[in-house]
Symmetry: C2
Subunit: 128 residues, 2 copies
């Protein structure tokens, strides 16, 4: 029975990842920490817009913030990606397993059909 309340965090991780600007921010931070202003510079959107994206990433715990004097330093936290990766890999694997089973089933059918064909051919020889 599927539970609607399961994994609110995974929802948050996936929604946070579902935006190209937020993915680009994470991509930058996955190469090393950065100040907010430094992070915002290459983006063709307002600092305010970038700040909103950063807050969403912080709520999803994909980004951590620490203060160094007056500076806010942001870093990447890959931990929430574990659940997302696990979900995706499990379902790709389930599907692959199902395809393997179908494949085995078809091979088995082929084998039976071939055996029946060989037997009827042999029986044909005997009766001729």
């Amino acid at each position: 029975m599927p539970a609607r309340s399961a994994q609110p965090k995974l929802d948050q991780t996936l929604v946070a990842l579902a935006d190209p600007t937020r993915r680009a921010i994470l991509q930058r931070l996955s190469r090393g920490e950065a100040r907010v202003t430094e992070l915002a510079r290459p983006f063709p959107v307002s600092l305010n817009s970038i700040s909103k994206h950063i807050r969403m990433l912080e709520r999803a715990q994909l980004v951590k913030r620490r203060r160094a004097g007056r500076e806010h330093i942001l870093s990447f936290n890959p931990k929430p990606l574990d659940d997302a990766a696990a979900w995706i890999e499990t379902h790709r694997a389930l599907w692959a397993k199902r395809l393997d089973m179908l494949d085995a089933l078809l091979r088995e059918e082929d084998r039976i059909a071939e055996a029946a064909h060989t037997r009827s051919a042999l029986e044909g020889e005997h009766h001729d």
Copy 2:
């Protein structure tokens, strides 16, 4: 330079996955195809609500629909998961590589500090 227009499909995949009911639908379908009514049965929500979730999964191409007479048969299409898995794995890997580099750097610093310590100890012996 991060591009805002990149990968609209990945956005769609991630948003489609960011809901426990839609994930439960995919989980069911990853074990084999199902009719809409059969799929909806275990969920404590209306058939209309499930239909909306299914349409969203179809738009994200995670679910395929075919007709068999009057029945609609749904199946799982894991293909869009490839991009999502690739994005996640790349960024986990980038981060892991960065941690390895930091680790190597710290070891190198330790090695230098130790060598300096050994040298000063040896020099100490000579001068005593």
